[in-house]
């Protein structure tokens, strides 16, 4: 049984569909990350799931039970919203414990659970403080603790680490993953950070235009995107995506020109490839030259931004290889087999099957 099921879910605002018959089954005890460009429906989906809004049509189930008509408080879901408000006159402890104290949970049981959540989030020493004595990151961790305290098998986290220091995020990512395993719960998680998405997810859901365009194991999705959004939103540095044209068996886009791997292609086409597919040197099939606009040094990896005739390209490789000179010109090479072709209109992957005549 899936932990959460959305069936033909629709929601429109002023006749504009935000969710357009969305279907999604989230596997039990998975860490599932939702990715999507702004306005793809991520936040709407979360608001419908926790009951802050009602769908126009469709059903939502949690652990097999239809919860579409339940009021928010009756839904068995722990929720960490993106924008959170703490009660300013309550201590950190009372902020975390408040919702639980309303349910009539015994006081020592509350204390035990608050201590545990505070320990995981390293805010045990702050429990007596009030929110105005906390830094931004400490407030955020307090809100996370509050959401994670609920006695639920399903937790919904809407970009909970956004804006935190990189190093704090790195640690909390590890801890949230470990926490999910410990709770044996399902985490449904949204983030706008593509590296965070890959680091956290067992399973990835890519949304576009109010629908799911791909739902797959994270590693599998990275290697086999079936929609241009999957390539664009998943992976760091960002994938190279170019607009091109196909004519008479030849695909042309910016500095690239190669024989179409698919027969019958004609007209505008979107193509993309990963930064690691682009290498320095020549001889992999498609060669070119570019001017180095910037070399970002990540310590273990280098990210090179290139300017070529009519296109900006990104390459990424381990820092054991030499860094090119800033503003210098370098040769690059690309294997055409690493280039993915997408329908310029729908964004769907154009598969290698023979195209119908």
């Amino acid at each position: 049984m899936s932990a959460v099921g959305f069936t033909r879910l629709c929601k429109a605002y002023r006749h504009k569909p935000a969710l357009d018959g969305l279907d999604l089954q989230v596997e039990s005890e998975s860490f599932t990350v939702l990715c999507g460009p702004p306005k793809s429906g991520k936040s709407v989906l979360f608001r419908l799931l926790v009951g802050l809004e009602k769908p126009d049509a469709g059903t939502i189930t949690v652990a097999g039970r239809d919860i579409t008509a339940l009021p928010p408080a009756a839904r068995p879901i722990g929720y960490v919203p993106q924008s959170f408000a703490l009660y300013p006159h309550f201590s950190v402890y009372d902020n975390i414990a408040y919702a639980l104290s309303l349910t009539g949970t015994p006081r020592d049981e509350i204390a035990r659970r608050v201590d545990r959540a505070a320990g995981i989030l390293s805010i045990g020493h702050l429990l007596k403080k009030t929110p105005d004595q906390l830094s931004g990151g400490e407030k955020q961790r307090t809100a996370l603790a509050r959401g994670l305290l609920k006695d639920a098998q399903l937790f919904v986290l809407d970009d909970p680490l956004v804006g935190l220091d990189y190093k704090l995020r790195e640690r909390l990512m590890d801890e949230l993953k470990a926490l999910r395993q410990e709770l044996k719960a399902t985490f449904l998680y949204a983030t706008s950070d593509s590296l965070e998405a890959l680091t956290m997810a067992q399973s990835l859901v890519v949304l576009d235009g109010g629908r799911v365009v791909q739902h797959d194991d994270a590693v599998a999705l990275y290697h086999a995107p079936r929609h241009v959004r999957s390539l664009e939103l998943v992976g760091f540095p960002r994938a190279n995506i170019l607009q091109g044209t196909a004519a008479n068996g030849i695909v042309t886009a910016g500095p690239l020109r190669f024989a179409s791997p698919l027969s019958g292609l004609q007209g505008p086409i979107t193509l993309g490839f990963r930064p690691e597919a682009l290498r320095r040197g020549h001889g992999r099939g498609l060669d070119g030259r570019g001017r180095v606009r910037l070399v970002e040094n990540l310590g273990g990896e280098l990210v090179v931004y290139l300017e070529t005739e009519g296109a900006s390209l990104v390459m990424g490789y381990p820092a054991t290889e030499a860094a090119p000179a800033f503003d210098g010109e370098i040769a690059f090479t690309l294997d055409p087999a690493d280039i993915l072709l997408f329908d310029a209109g729908t964004g769907a992957l154009l598969a290698a099957e023979p195209v119908e005549a």
Binding site: L198, A218, L294, G300
Partner: protein
């Protein structure tokens, strides 16, 4: 001469010591980044160099000139802030020219030449006539960079200039800053909390921790040979692994070592030793080989540029390892790991103890 000498400077705010008895020399014409988490003292140090704060004790010298008691305006430094201070009623060009108008040493012709050059370097020639409030945050900040640099002061200070700029514009801005600082011979002190920015821009990075400088070094040295555990942890995506180690009879044993390695030097007795190793300094195989240790592959995700970021458990010790391709075994299966012995660093009490 515009080297900057920080001579035993301390800064206290009430009972809080923001900067602790620092001694550091920023070389003439170099780009120094002050890097560290919030609250490490980097901004306070920069503000003291600018004259916006006065040290509680110690001296600040520009070359041979003691500037400790001088006001900001008499120090002759250019500054770029998080939020650019601009004149919205002036054009891009006029904003860049403004500080030079107040300098009698710069002729009108020279001023025009410098403005034109700066517009070129910033790639903003076609926006020269636009007003500041017509620009996005990234371009506004580029103008602030141009204005701070063009007047030709010996020293230019940058205080987290990319903080309020969105990702794509940020790359343009960093490129502009890189272009500008490569052409100028000014001494630059650049404050940031972003390790990538520091590694990308700096000749040398001063890594700061709790009011102290943990290491002042070239970026590649700071990354590959951190002096402190803090440095190993702070730099890198993710940071360095620290594995508990034991020392006996001049050799060192740890969960990632197939056999103890001989120590080149004595280590302090009674202090816990940790072995520091970055995730890309371990090689992983599907079959045992000389020097490998068996562990269980407990996590695998895709990391930067398609490399796998894995976690391998050796008994109770978890180690993060980057692999170029797909790990040679499935999750939960045994893998064989060999650390690159010559890169291993040893730490005791938070500090590096190997050469």
């Amino acid at each position: 001469m515009a080297e900057i000498l920080i001579d035993r400077v301390t800064k206290r705010f009430g009972t809080f010591t923001a900067v602790k008895d620092l001694e550091i020399r920023f070389a003439d014409g170099e780009v120094a980044c002050l890097l560290g988490p919030s609250g490490c003292g980097k901004t306070t140090l920069m503000r003291m160099i600018a004259g916006l704060e006065t040290p509680t004790s110690g001296r600040i010298l520009f070359g041979n000139r003691d500037v400790t008691a001088l006001s900001t305006s008499r120090r002759n430094v250019g500054m770029v802030f998080q939020y650019p201070v601009m004149y919205p009623t002036l054009s891009v060009e006029e904003n860049i020219a403004l500080p030079m108008r107040q300098d009698r040493g710069i002729s009108a012709a020279e001023r025009d030449r410098r403005v034109a050059e700066m517009l070129d370097v910033l790639d903003m020639r076609d926006q020269r006539g636009r007003f500041i409030d017509e620009l996005d945050a990234g371009n506004r900040q580029k103008v602030a960079v141009g204005r701070a640099v063009a007047r030709g002061s010996d020293i230019v200070l940058f205080d987290e200039p990319t903080t309020n700029v969105e990702v794509n514009a940020k790359l343009q801005l960093i490129r502009a800053i890189k272009t500008v600082i490569q052409r100028t011979r000014q001494t630059i002190v650049y404050v940031t909390h972003d390790q990538t920015e520091a590694m990308t821009l700096a000749d040398r990075i001063a890594l700061m921790d709790s009011g102290d400088i943990s290491q002042y070094d070239r970026p590649d040295q700071l990354y590959s040979r951190p002096m402190t555990e803090f440095g190993g942890w702070f730099l890198g995506n993710p940071g360095m692994n620290f594995v508990p180690a034991t020392v006996a009879n001049g050799t060192l044993a740890a969960a990632v070592l197939a056999e103890p390695i001989r120590l080149a030097q004595a280590v302090p007795p009674g202090v816990p030793i940790k072995l520091g190793i970055r995730p890309e300094w371990l090689d992983m195989y599907g079959e045992p080989r000389p020097g490998t240790v068996a562990g269980v592959l407990s996590d695998q995700t895709i990391g930067i540029a398609g490399r796998y970021l894995t976690k391998v458990s050796f008994g109770g010790v978890d180690v993060k390892i980057k692999t170029a391709g797909r790990p040679p075994a499935a999750l939960g299966q045994t893998v064989h790991v060999k650390p690159q012995i010559d890169r291993i660093l040893l730490y005791a009490g938070g500090n590096r103890i190997t050469g």
